[in-house]
């Protein structure tokens, strides 16, 4: 029996086209020959799938035909829930929107971080603070410069810093600014006549920028009585003030007004004055018109024009009182008799000159 014949027989059998005798005969044949039996099973499966497939195709085409009759587009329009445009925008573009938002946030945070705005909420305030910080740094460096003074006019290459000091007692106690003698190995004071005396640092108050020197030189003879007094109270705004100092090798005079009773950043330690202060003026006396010492010249503000500082005398007096008794040979008695009061400024300065010293500082950092 060839293949075609067999297939035909199988189809006839499955379609029920055989007579009962033929069926029996065929079934017997299948049992007898397993190869034919397998072929029958295989064809039965195939035919079944084929039938289902054709049924499915028929059903699908029927459904497709029905579907054709429906106006899907109109129906879809009706049934579509139309969310508000913003929701739609979000749905369609949420990934892009998210990315954009993250970048924006990142950029803003980055900018804020880089510009330092995170350090403080109030932008102006921090700016101000920084400025103040800068000013302080600048005043410090100015103090250094002040102390350094120009070495070109220096006779002694070894002296590093220069400042000014003034006598507080006739026996050789000199007041100056702490930053002038800071880190000093040795200190010399030089009077207006150009005579130099070795001095010790007797006492310092770095927080108030005050230092007290004592002339420890055998060649030093006591000064004549101090002509000026120290004003205990606070001076008034707009008062005429002047100073004498050694920004150069010779005594230098300058005057101005007391512009504020508060120092840098509201510091009650200092006065603000409009006297022009130059490097080397530090430690000099700030005088009022009646010949009272009202302060110790301290520093200059580099950011603003004409703003200079002097430590108030009350702090100087306090410092003098704080000098340990055992470091003194005899008790300090400050002059209470002002002999400058009635004199003109020119006459005052002429007298004052003898009590103002140039402070030379050697060594140190």
């Amino acid at each position: 029996m060839n293949e075609h014949k067999l297939l035909e027989e199988i189809e006839r059998y499955l379609n029920g086209e055989m007579s009962p005798e033929e069926r029996l005969q065929f079934e017997a044949l299948c049992k007898q020959d397993t190869a034919i039996g397998n072929k029958l099973a295989e064809h039965r499966l195939f035919a079944k799938t084929m039938k289902q497939y054709s049924d499915r195709l028929a059903l699908e085409s029927r459904l497709a035909a029905i579907h054709e009759e429906i106006d899907v587009h109109t129906l879809a329009e009706e049934l579509m829930i139309h969310p508000s445009w913003i929701v739609q925008l979000w749905r369609n573009h949420h990934s892009k929107i998210s990315v954009a938002a993250s970048i924006a946030i990142f950029a803003i945070l980055g900018t804020l971080f880089l510009s330092g705005s995170f350090a403080n909420h109030d932008n102006k305030y921090i700016e101000l603070r920084r400025e103040v910080g800068n000013l302080q740094r600048k005043t410090e460096s100015l103090n250094q410069k002040v102390a350094q003074n120009a070495s070109r006019t220096n006779r002694d290459v070894m002296d590093r810093y220069r400042g000014t000091g003034f006598a507080i007692t006739a026996n050789g106690l000199i007041a100056t600014a702490y930053h002038v003698i800071n880190d000093a190995d040795s200190v010399y004071v030089e009077n207006a006549a150009g005579k130099s005396f070795k001095a010790d640092v007797l006492y310092t108050e770095p927080e108030n920028d005050i230092a007290i020197l004592r002339i420890a030189d055998n060649s030093f003879k006591n000064l004549s009585p101090i002509p000026y007094t120290f004003k205990k109270g606070e001076s008034d705004l707009a008062e005429f003030v002047y100073t004498l100092g050694y920004p150069q090798d010779s005594p230098h005079y300058d005057d101005g007004k007391l512009t504020s009773t508060m120092g840098l950043n509201g510091d009650s330690l200092d006065y603000q004055i409009s006297v022009t202060i130059n490097p080397g003026n530090s430690g000099g006396p700030l005088m009022d018109s009646r010949g009272n010492v009202i302060g110790v010249v301290k520093a200059k503000e580099t950011q603003m024009e004409g703003v200079h500082f002097a430590v108030k005398t009350s702090y100087l007096l306090a410092a003098i009182n704080n000098i340990p008794a055992d470091s003194l040979t005899k008790k300090i008695s400050l002059n209470t008799k002002n002999t400058l009061a009635g004199l003109s400024t020119v006459q005052q300065v002429k007298k004052l000159k003898n009590y103002v010293f140039m402070v030379r500082v050697y060594g140190g950092k």
Binding site: L63, V72, A76
Partner: protein, 190 residues
Amino acid sequence: MNKELKGPIPTDSEVILGILNNSESVLNRLYIAYFPMVLQLIINNNGTADDAKDIYQEAIIILYNKIKAGDFELSSKLKTFIYSVCRRLWLKRLSQMNRYGGDIRDFEDYSPVEDDEVDKQNELAIQFTKMESALQLLGEPCKTIMEDFYIHNRSMQDICERFGYTNADNAKTQKYKCLQRLKKLFFQQK
């Protein structure tokens, strides 16, 4: 669309009887009655009208086959059954496309549909794709002869005339040759 087809929504038992009796009009009314519901489900859940058509037809075929096989028990409303099957199919399709966001907007009640219902349908679908591609691979004229005979149920005589065979025996021989090749192609496919 004629009036008869546009009749009222058929009752559930009407549908079952109608399908068992191969009623064209019942199938029509059934299809038209529930399509909007499914369309609404799909287009409001990231789908298109074409997706809705595919899903709905698949669901109708599942229903149709179940009724024909005689194992359809109406445990809930027919509407709920169709909606649930479509919902299940659509969720499956969405996750295949990686478009499933985790939630679906529902418009009707639904009851859980057993997975094997859908899986059985998948099994069949695989067989049908096999058959389809086997027919494609078969080439002409075999493909047309096979389709005419087995799908369109044409007689050997018809086929004989269409292809200009001189006698029915020649046509028969040709048919068997084609059938054998088709079977080979079908069973070879994995």
